[in-house]
Structures are given as structure tokens and as C-alpha cells.
């Protein structure tokens, strides 16, 4: 961590990029402030418990990484620090139980489905629920879609151009099963066989970013096993957070026997928009039908696509390429929507304020449709635009492409 801390020249260019600084306007809730706090804790000048309120408020959105001229790897820094500090922390019993439950339920499609279905019935009771559970309930959709197990293999349509593996994700299998279905349809239509490797599990990002290093390591190793052993054209993720998580594997197992394997895996990982954008760049993407009427689409940059993976151009170009779509830029589009993994549950007030801000910014451009590439953002934006009385649909970029291929857009 020392090299990352030293790389910070405390210029303050990160301040305007930080969502919590925007809300709170104080230095210790800014990236620069947090780096100094981490440094002081590590050097023994500050007690860990004094620093953690501010470090816990970090969304891990990495907006600051984009803004940083000195190239400080802030993401690695906060993740490393959380991993180091978590085992030393004393958390209140209830908080601890919720964390453990969250990190156990989120990664398991079975458990999450059961919890979501249960929660759906409890949703009308939300105002009566303890503050600990309310934020989670508020985010659930009114209707949990029927559960749909994915087959292990989907054949390509027409001549085979390659073979890709799909990371199916956790919560999104329950909350938005159509993300995977649309992804598979678009890929197979473009001549790719899609494998959904058995034995895959949660990517580990949620555990890693909350400092549960041991759990994260187990999950990483499970996926190295599940996705190893075959060279795919690409390993596809359609959730920005998970894709970024997979690409982080070499850092997680740095110096361990699995490092080479992790590097091989990370090199194959592509977000669905990155993969399709590559086909588009090479003129290899099969044409869709245009939208049946002109559509104004607000594209929301998921932090883990834009900031963590540097993917901004491809999704926009894919949408424009469909024909009939005008891509609208969201004011302050670099600012996180506040979803950020488990943040919604652990920092509900800040998350809600950021969600409200994001919804207002998105709706200010008067879109017909909202596109994003991450389940967390999707849920957050849908919930907060609905709260403002908006009926504008929120869709994954690949869902829009899928509709266009089917002539239903």
C-alpha cells in the first residue's frame, strides 16, 4: 500500500469527482482525505476506529481514479486497507450479523431468490421494519421475476465464430434474469457458442471490497477452477461490478500459486459492451433493425465500467449504431448513483441522497429510456426514478440491443 499512498501528491483534483465530498463538503470524506487517514492509521498516528467512519463512507466508485493526474491506484488502496483492517474491527453485533448474512445471501442465487421472494411479501410492511432491513426492502422490485435456471450451453446461430463463457452473476439472476437471457441471445445470434460453466460462483468483489478477504479468496479460487482449463474467445460479464472484480483477480492472488492462472483468466474477461463494441469496431457485428420510432436514450455510466474498466465509448457507440437512437449525456455523469455493492444497505442515507441526485440528473435530459450496464445501478436508478413519479424504463444496454435484433424496439 505504501507505494500507492506515496503516489498521491495531494493536489485535490479528486475532490470534485468524489460523491461523498459532493454531499458532505468535508476533507476527510474525500479521496485525498481518506488517503491521508489510511496513511496515519498505518503509521500508528491515528486509531483505526477514528478513521473508519470516513473510510466506510467511501463507495469505492473510483471516480477519483479517473480524475487523478498522478495515477494513484486508489481502488487497490482502499480494498487493501479494508482487507487489512476488517479483522481488527469491533462491529456492533447486529451490524455484524447483517454483514455476514448479506455476504452469504448475495452470492448465492438460491438464497437470494428465497430472500427476495420473502422480502417481496414484506415490502408493504417496510415502514414498520427495523432500520437495519428497510433499505434492502425498498430496493426490491414490486414483483420478483420467476426464477429461471440457465442451461450450461447455448449453441451459436449460423457459422461458429467463437466460444465464450458467461459469468452469470448473483443477484441479477433473481432481480433481472433477462440480462443474461438477452446477453445469450445477442451472442448466439452473432455466431458465438455460450458456455455457462458449472461450479462458478460469486466473483468475490462484494466480499473483497468490504474487507472480507478470506471469503473473497475462496470465491476467487472457485471461479479460477470453474473458468480455467479452457481458452475461451472471451469470458463475458454483463455486470460492471463483477467484470471489474474478475479483472482484479491477479491483484487478489498476487504472490500466490494461483497468480498466473488469475492473469490468464483476467486477460480473457470482457464486459459484454466491450466485447460487442470490439466486433462493431471490426465491422463484424451483425446488423439489427432500427428502433421503430426515434428514441432518446440516457446512458448512465456505471462506475465499475467507466472508472474501473475505462469502458465509456463502446456502449454509447453500440446504442447509436442501432439506428433511431439519440444517446443523451447525463449531467454530472461521472458521479456514482450510490448503489455500490452493499453500500445501499450499510450507508442508506448517503446512498439515498446520491440515488435522488442521480435520478434528478437523468430525468433532467428527458429520456424515453435509460440504459446502463450494471445491476446495482439498474436497481438504484429504477427505484429512485420511480420515486420521482417517472415511468421511464431502465434497461441494460444489451437488452436494448436484443430488442433491436428482434425488431421489437
Amino acid at each position: 500500500m505504501a507505494h500507492a499512498i506515496d503516489a498521491c501528491v495531494h493536489c485535490g483534483f479528486c475532490l470534485p469527482a468524489c460523491p461523498t465530498y459532493a454531499l458532505l463538503g468535508d476533507e476527510m470524506d474525500s479521496p485525498r482525505g481518506r488517503i491521508v487517514l489510511m496513511k496515519e492509521v498505518l503509521e500508528g498516528e491515528l486509531a483505526l476506529e477514528d478513521a473508519v467512519p470516513h473510510l466506510d463512507r467511501c463507495l469505492g466508485c473510483q471516480g477519483c481514479v479517473t480524475a487523478c493526474p498522478s495515477g494513484v491506484p486508489y481502488g487497490e488502496l482502499i480494498t487493501g486497507f479494508r482487507g487489512w483492517s476488517e479483522p481488527q474491527r469491533q462491529r456492533p453485533l447486529l451490524q455484524k450479523a447483517r454483514r455476514t448474512a448479506l455476504l452469504r445471501v448475495l452470492p448465492s442465487p438460491q438464497l437470494f431468490y428465497a430472500a427476495a421472494t420473502l422480502g417481496q411479501h414484506a415490502k408493504p410492511l417496510s415502514p414498520l421494519m427495523p432500520a437495519l432491513l428497510k433499505p434492502a426492502l425498498d430496493l426490491l422490485p414490486r414483483r420478483v421475476p420467476r426464477r429461471n435456471r440457465l442451461q450450461p450451453f447455448f449453441p451459436a446461430e449460423g457459422p461458429i465464430r467463437g466460444r465464450v463463457a458467461l459469468l452469470a452473476g448473483c443477484a441479477q439472476q433473481t432481480l433481472a434474469p433477462n440480462f443474461n437471457e438477452a446477453t445469450i441471445r445477442v451472442l448466439t445470434r452473432n455466431g458465438f457458442e455460450v458456455v455457462v460453466p458449472a461450479g462458478q460462483g460469486c466473483c468475490g468483489a462484494a466480499a473483497l471490497h468490504t474487507g472480507e478477504r478470506d471469503l473473497a479468496l475462496r470465491q476467487v479460487k472457485q471461479n479460477l477452477q470453474a473458468f480455467g482449463g479452457e481458452n475461451y474467445t472471451a469470458i463475458i460479464s454483463n455486470a460492471a461490478g463483477c467484470g471489474a472484480g474478475l479483472k482484479e483477480y491477479p491483484v487478489v492472488v498476487r504472490g500466490q500459486p494461483e497468480e498466473a492462472q488469475a492473469q490468464a483468466l483476467a486477460a480473457q474477461v470482457q464486459d459484454i459492451s466491450e466485447f460487442l463494441g470490439g466486433l462493431l469496431d471490426r465491422g463484424e457485428l451483425r446488423p439489427t433493425l432500427p428502433a421503430s420510432q426515434p428514441l432518446r436514450v440516457a446512458y448512465h455510466d456505471a462506475c465499475h465500467l467507466a472508472h474501473a474498466q475505462g469502458i465509456r465509448r463502446e456502449p454509447r457507440e453500440l446504442l447509436r449504431w442501432i439506428g433511431g437512437i439519440e444517446v443523451l449525456e447525463v449531467p454530472r455523469g461521472d458521479l456514482c448513483c450510490g448503489s455500490a455493492g452493499t453500500y445501499n444497505i450499510e450507508q442508506p442515507e448517503l446512498a439515498a441522497q446520491l440515488g435522488q441526485l442521480k435520478a434528478a440528473h437523468i430525468l433532467s435530459v428527458q429520456p424515453d429510456l435509460i440504459a446502463s450496464g450494471n445491476i446495482g445501478c439498474h436497481t438504484q436508478i429504477a427505484s429512485h426514478t420511480r420515486e420521482r413519479g417517472s415511468a421511464v424504463r431502465v434497461m441494460h444496454t444489451v437488452e436494448i440491443l436484443d430488442l433491436a435484433y428482434r425488431g421489437e424496439l
Binding site: 501528491v9 477514528d50 495515477g71
Partner: protein, 465 residues
Amino acid sequence: MPASEFGQLQRRLGAGKVLLRPSECSSYRYDAIQFGVRPLAVVLPETVEDVVQAVRAAQAAGVPVVGRGAASGLSGGAAPAQPGLVVSFTRMTALRILPQQREAVAQAGVVTLAVSEAARLHGLTYPPDPASLRTSTIGGNLGENAGGPLCFKYGVTGDYVRALQVVDADGEIHHLTRDAYDLAGLMIGSEGTLGLITEATLRLVPPARHTLTLQASFGSLEACAAAVSTAISAGTVPAKLEFMDAACIGAVEDYLHLGLPRHAAALLLVDSDGDDPAQVEAELKVVEEAFRAAGGEVRRARDAQEAAALWQARRSVSPALGRIRPARMNEDIAVPRSRLPQVVAEIQALAEPYGFPLVQFGHIGDGNLHPNILFDPRRDDPEQVHELAHRIAQVALRHGGVLSGEHGIGSMKRAFMAEAVDTQTAAAYWAIKDTLDPAGRLNPEKLLPPRGALATGPEVAHAGA
């Protein structure tokens, strides 16, 4: 006792506005170049009345008060030299645009760029454009009298001030204008040593209708400096005329990947602007010819987007230097333009025997250069760094220049002040300071040469511009 005074202040203003915990206070001890000492308390005022209360609490506690904006300054101005109270203005962000008067009324914590953005909705603009304009605040800009690329043609922060609201050392509120004794002018660039600026009435102007941007690279620093002199002697007044050397080009290229010419020894960025496109074109032509004559390779920005990317590159130079060495000593000298080629070369030669990477960039149009000594505090000798910095400052003074073009003196260049001003002027500075802040509690150990350390340095020549 400070603790009880600030405890009381916290009870009066509310816990959210007064920070007392070490973790909180620790975050308010640095700016973008220096770490100071941990303040005893931090106030985040939301109104001028909060500021008054804060100043009175510090007065009662008998400790210093240091004003702070976004702490993106480059002279140590906001880094406390002594334990005391920091007043952080980041939550005083009220901003009104008065289009009829072509004025903006901005509280101290308004972010610089926000003024231009708000003014644009009324067909107006606020020209001062420090590199940190997305972060920096109006209060901080005023405290250091910040400049920026546009200041060659349009002037620095102070040139846009019509009036200031200031809280003095006793906690009294004043409304200062530019009439009679220009007391508002006295506050500009005073780094919070005479009072705390809480609100400013700023002049807005209609933006130029047309802007063209070009980039030129040179094989040597001398050729580059000569090109600038020739272009300006030919009567051109570019809106911006910026310079960066090879190391700067490399550092920002690593950050932004724009395809800048890594092998060039120097790069110039030029904006020409005006309302008449023919005139703008004609001016840029003259510049282009001057640059070519000096051996420059000239390329125009294809469109506004490319121009914007080039300017982002320029704004990123200073922090991107962190990629080369973790720490730096930055200078902000301003020298007569006619002396530029010589000054650039002398500084280059001076640095060589020391072995530190030395980079130079700046607003070369008005002779404002930022030589930066890059070093690693764990390996390099701070004495050596300081000695080289001192000698660079002396180069500027010898050529009739000044220590600070736009960053302020702060604590970084305070040591050189004794050589930069004559005894009588320094005495006048201190007379003003003693009148307005007799107890010496406003941002102590900044800007002013230490008492009794006056004019012991070398002879200062005065060269014509």
C-alpha cells in the same frame, strides 16, 4: 483554554460545523504542496455569522486562524504553521449571477468553475482559470491572487474583483470596494493574513465568440523561448500561451494518452480568440509563422474537442509530475519576457550538477514560469533541494523578476522574500499587518518576510520588460 472555547463554539454552531476529533482535524493540515501542523479545531461555516463566531472563539482562545478553500494551493498558504483554528469555506457556496450588472456574487467556497458555468447561462463568462479550477474556490483564488492561462490576455483573479466582504481579526464584518483606499485590493493576494474573505462581487465579461487552438513542438528550449518572444514582438496577444518541457509532456502523456510529441524538448499551446473570425485567424497565422521561423513544428487542433483535450493536458501538468518523483519544490517566478530564453537556459544549467529532475512549464506569455524540482524525500537531501530552489529564485530576481506570478508566497517561498523586497517595502508590509492584525493571529508565518531577516540577499537588478 482553546479546548473549552472550541467546545463552546461547537455547542453554539452545531456538531456538524465544528470538528474537534483528531481524525477530522488532521485532514485540514495540508494543501496541494505542503503539510502543516494539525489544527486544534476546524469550522465549516455556512454563513458569514458563523465565520464571525469562529474568529471570536479563536480570539478568546488566543490561537491563530487559518482560512482554507479546497486546499489546492501550491504555496502552503492554507497549511497551518501553528496549531489553531482552520476555517474551511467549502460549504459557503451561495452564488448569484446579476446579468444586468454583469456581476457574480460568490461566497468564498464557490468552486471557480461554477462561476463560469453559471455565468454562461447568461451569455457571460468569468475568465480567471487556474489549473485547479474544478476544485479550487473563489476564496482561495483571491487569497493567492490566482492566475491561469487566460491571464496573459484577460488578467488575474484580482482584476475581476469589484467588492469583497471580509471578516477582520476582531470578527467585524467589512464591505470593501475598490474606491478611495483600495482596501479590497489590499486583501487580494494577502493569503488570509489580514482578514478572511467571505464573499466577493466579481466582474463578468461576454466570452469571445471564436477561439482557435494550436500546438507547436520544438527541438530545444531556447528555440521555444525565442519563438514566444518573436510572436509577441509581432504584436499578437494570444488568449493563452503555455509552455511545457519534455518531462511535462511525458508525464501528461502517461496520464491522458493524447499522442503528444514525446520526443520534443518543448511544447507550446496557444489559443487565439476574438469576436471576428478573420481577425482570430490572422492573429494565429502570425503566431504560426513566428513559431515556424524558430524551427517549431506546428499543428492546429482539429476541433473543439481536441482543443479541450490539449488544455486538459496543460491543466494536469503539475499534479502529473507525481509520476516522476513523489515530492516536488515548485516555483512560480515571473520574469520579463525579453529575458525568458536566458532565464530558462540558466535554470536548466543550474540544476544539472544537483542531479534532481528539474522540469519547467508555465504561462510563458507573461513570463510566468514554474520550475519544479522533483525529488524523493526518502532518498534526497532536503537541504540540496532548498538550495537549488533558492538559486532558481535568485535567477528570477537577478533578471528583474518576482517570486510569485500566481501561486502566492505562502510558506514555500517565504524564505526568499527577504531578498525579493527591499527593507522599506518589507517594513511597510509589516506596518499594515500590525495595524490590521496586531495580535498576529491571522495565518501566521506566511507571506511576510520574517521580521529582522530583511534585505540580506544579493543585489537585485531591475530589468525592463
